[in-house]
């Protein structure tokens, strides 16, 4: 069944022909439709980069903010209106580089948002420089002698900070990616899906073929086993596992812990100014 609920008509997509982003976009739209969501239930939030163009290519509410800051915007949107399904999308440079500090602290904060990271291990928008996830020795026009820094390991970092849903997907496996996204969206709390994505223009090492040969689907893995998940996350050489490495339910997400909702369940946009409470606070200053 072809579900076109999240399709946006009359658009010109500026991704390169063959880009893995097309496949991820397709998986996202199908996942949301299969979950029974509508474009009015969902806010897609992004920063800057090729992946961050996603909200302009599908039908839903959208917030395309600054480079690196999507998780801050997304956390706040969820906190201001917990009824919204908030999905923060971006690339490895956007989420792990420019937004690295927010990545760390969003995992700790645990808002009920879904974080999809299109990880192609290279910068696309700025034309081919190394990204935080590029492996050592990866040569580019700017890293002429190859990358010197150790690659950023998003899965291990997220696990070490207490993330309650950590998964890895591959754009080329559309059906599997869709299923992982569905679980991530349903998860209560912060959910990270790092999605291997081939960049056909600037990454000639990590191609569709390379990812096919260097990944495998997790089977018989205990998602509640933190140590096993960490071991998988820390693999430096392939093959890399695809699927949900870790999932733990039952931890209250950020927005449910807020004092703002203790007495009043309405989203913030429906609230009047608390004049009576303000007058009481003021009165206390006269005593």
């Amino acid at each position: 069944m072809e579900n076109k609920l999240f399709d946006l008509a009359g658009i010109e997509i500026s991704w390169c022909p063959g880009c893995g982003d097309f496949l991820i976009l397709d998986s996202i739209k199908k996942a949301l439709a299969e979950l029974g969501l509508t474009p009015l239930d969902v806010v897609v939030v992004s920063g800057i980069g090729q992946a961050a163009k996603t909200p302009h290519y599908m039908k839903s509410h959208f917030f395309n903010g600054l480079h690196g800051r999507a998780l801050s915007n997304a956390t706040a949107i969820k906190a201001a209106n917990p009824a919204l399904e908030v999905i923060a999308v971006g690339g490895d440079g956007d989420m792990y580089g420019e937004g690295g500090n927010h990545f760390i602290h969003t995992v700790r904060r645990n808002p009920g948002i879904t974080n999809l990271v299109y990880n192609n291990m290279v910068y696309g928008l700025t034309k081919g420089q190394a990204s935080p996830t590029s492996p050592r020795g990866f040569r580019t026009a700017t890293q002429v002698d190859g990358v010197q820094s150790a690659p950023f390991n998003p899965l291990a970092v997220a696990l070490s900070l207490g993330a309650t849903f950590v998964a890895r997907a591959f754009a080329g496996n559309g059906e599997q990616t869709k299923e992982i996204i569905k679980r991530a969206v349903r998860h209560k709390g912060y959910a990270l899906v790092d999605i291997f994505q081939p960049c056909v223009s600037f990454n000639h090492v990590h191609t569709y073929k390379w990812f096919r040969e260097n990944t495998y689907t997790l089977e018989g893995h205990d998602e509640g086993d933190f140590d096993a998940a960490m071991k998988l996350a820390l693999l430096e050489e392939g093959p890399f596992p695809l699927g949900t490495l870790y999932c733990k339910e039952g931890i209250a997400p950020f927005e449910e812990t807020l004092a703002a909702y203790r007495k009043d369940k309405r989203p913030l946009f429906q609230r009047e100014a608390p004049r009576e409470a303000a007058r009481e606070v003021l009165a206390a200053m006269g005593r």
Partner: protein, 579 residues
């Protein structure tokens, strides 16, 4: 008579100095409460070093029958809790200052200064009372004794403040009474305040600048506050954490200022009424986010509490040097409003106004305060606080909703995601009416014009400056922000019938009516707390009016009334003369 100085003066000025960590703030709160409950007016100002323990900080308390609201240099009574009293206090000790201190602690310091030095054995009495931490209550008791204000009010304060900790209450009250016994005989019959009129009822609310801003925000319906702690802006964050449930506000201490402002903009998009609170260094980090609020047309209020820069500057001191930062922060061009309240009443009202204009024009508004202002407090009548109109709730969107629909005043109807049938978009790029990135040079011009048209509305709404003094002035003293009460008192003391004060409490956009008020003067002096005359420069750029004199202070401390008075006397043309 020991205390000859206060006789015949409008107010009695008491200063308590001591190391950080001695609990001076509790004592300060207590004394203010007692003074007000006893029917007097109080003004307080605190200056402190950037350290948790040690050093030497001070609190000034002006006590008067009539309202007082400005910092002065004169010290009538100095209570020194710790040695190593700093130069800024020593310079203020006059031949009329009576000093109370413990000879054992001060080790000879201050004994040859002022009108007289009175030894009070704080250390030994504190030991008897239960430990060194009680020295502040003994000192406070001594001051209450000198003033003749009784111990009942103080005891009630301690019972309330330390409710449930009976031992702490009992020991503090005992310490207070010991001090009172020492102080009362010094103050003469009925104490230093004897014979001064007291008012019963009214003016019982004690408000500091930080709480005035926070309460104004709460009154305006602020329901989302994010910040990274930074002196002197943290008080507003603490206020909202304390009152988050009653305010119905999401309050979060973020990992950095970038997160703070980007959360605020995201929340604004979702229909919250957000505020961030920060100081210059943190605000510098927020610049890109401010620009984002401009282009996505997100209502947003920034509380910017200034302290001296550049960079880390002086963390706990005051300055007015971030005016130009507030005016120009953020790349590209977008409309904004900047308020600079001069009084507690104004801070309450103008913070509401900042929310109102941010919501009305869907753009950032900045409330500029400073360390002096957020820490200063005085008593006032609750009825003096103005409550502006409450914000109205946002309507539901229709199916054909477009977030950036063109509008004559530049303000597209605001809708939020999850409320109505429309798709709500926002984009940091230049965008079309829906909010999608679209590069078209005609669209760009149209959208930029749409956003900037909002500046016309903001200008029409701008709060005009306040004039104090004769309407037919020849000379005009101009100030902005927290210096208002100080210059007002300084100018009143000069008794000039040819000179008025023009105090700006909105510094962008400037009310067009200001031009005529400035042009009417044949001499203009601009007084401000920075080294280059930023506001004077703004007046010249906006109105072509050049300041004849700039009165500047930038050593980290606020102008005092006496200092402003001397600077004005030196700057103003001779009475009746030409410049």
């Amino acid at each position: 008579m020991l205390f000859s100085s206060p006789a015949g003066r409008q107010d009695v000025c008491c200063v308590i100095s001591g190391a950080a960590g001695l609990g001076i703030q509790t004592v300060e709160d207590m004394l203010a409460r007692v003074i007000v409950d006893e029917g007097f007016c109080v003004f307080g100002s605190r200056e402190y070093m950037s350290r948790v323990r040690g050093g030497n900080n001070s609190t000034e308390l002006r006590v008067s029958s009539e309202p007082v609201d400005a910092l002065i240099d004169r010290i009538d009574i100095l209570i020194a809790l710790s040695r190593n009293v700093r130069q800024n206090i020593l310079e203020r000790i006059s031949p009329h200052t009576v000093i109370l201190g413990d000879r054992d602690e001060l080790k000879g310091e201050l004994e040859d200064r002022g009108a007289s030095f009175v030894h009070i054995p704080l250390s030994s009495l504190a030991k008897e009372a239960g430990g060194a931490i009680y020295s502040n209550s003994i000192a406070a008791g001594a001051l209450l004794g000198v003033l003749g204000l009784g111990t009942e009010g103080a005891a009630a304060f301690y019972r309330d403040r330390f409710a449930g900790k009976d031992d702490v209450v009992t020991k503090n009250i005992a310490a207070l009474e010991k001090g009172y016994g020492l102080g009362a005989p010094l103050g003469g019959e009925g104490g230093v305040l004897a014979g001064r009129p007291r008012s019963k009822g009214g003016k019982k609310t004690i408000l500091n600048g930080s709480d005035a801003v926070a309460l104004g925000a709460m009154a305006a319906g602020c329901n989302f506050v994010t910040a990274y702690p930074m002196s002197p802006a943290t008080g507003v964050l603490s206020f909202f954490y304390r009152h988050a449930a009653e305010a119905g506000a999401v309050v979060e201490q973020t990992e950095d200022e970038l997160a703070a402002i980007n959360m605020a903009v995201g929340a604004s998009y979702a229909g919250a009424r957000p505020m961030v609170t920060t100081s210059g260094g943190g605000f510098a980090l927020m610049a890109e986010g401010l620009s984002l609020a401009g282009v996505v047309e997100a209502p947003l209020v920034v509380h910017l509490a200034q302290r001296p820069g550049p960079a880390t500057g002086m963390a706990t001191r005051t300055e007015q040097a971030d005016l130009e930062l507030a005016l120009h922060s953020g790349h590209g061009e977008f409309p904004r409003a900047v308020y600079a309240p001069g009084t507690m009443e104004s801070a309450f009202r103008l913070t509401q106004e900042a929310f109102a204009s941010a919501l009305r024009f869907q753009t950032p508004a900045i409330v500029l305060t400073d360390q002096y202002f957020v820490n200063a407090f005085h008593n006032l009548d609750e009825s003096a606080l103005q409550w502006l109109e409450e914000p109205s709730l946002l309507p539901e969107t229709g199916g054909d909703y477009r977030r950036y629909e063109d509008a004559p005043d530049g303000c597209s109807p605001m809708g939020v995601p999850g409320w109505g049938k429309g798709i709500v978009g926002a984009d940091s790029h230049e965008h079309d009416e829906v909010g999608h990135v679209y590069e078209d040079f005609h669209l760009r011009t149209r959208m930029q014009d749409k956003r900037m048209r909002k500046l016309d509305g903001l200008t029409a709404r701008a709060v005009p400056p306040r004039l104090f003094g004769p309407g037919n002035y020849r000379n005009l003293v101009v100030c902005w922000g927290s210096t208002l009460p100080i210059l007002r008192e300084a100018l009143a003391g000069l008794d000039r019938d040819d000179t008025a004060l023009l105090a700006f409490e909105q510094v962008w956009p400037l009310a067009p009516s200001s031009a005529a008020m400035l042009e009417k003067a044949s001499f203009i002096a601009v007084a401000e707390g920075n080294s280059t005359g930023q506001f004077a420069r703004l007046l010249r750029a906006e109105f072509g009016v050049k300041a004849d004199k700039k009165i500047l202070k930038y050593n980290g401390l606020q102008f005092s009334v006496e200092e402003a008075s001397a600077m004005l006397a030196g700057a103003l043309p001779a009475k009746g003369g030409d410049r």
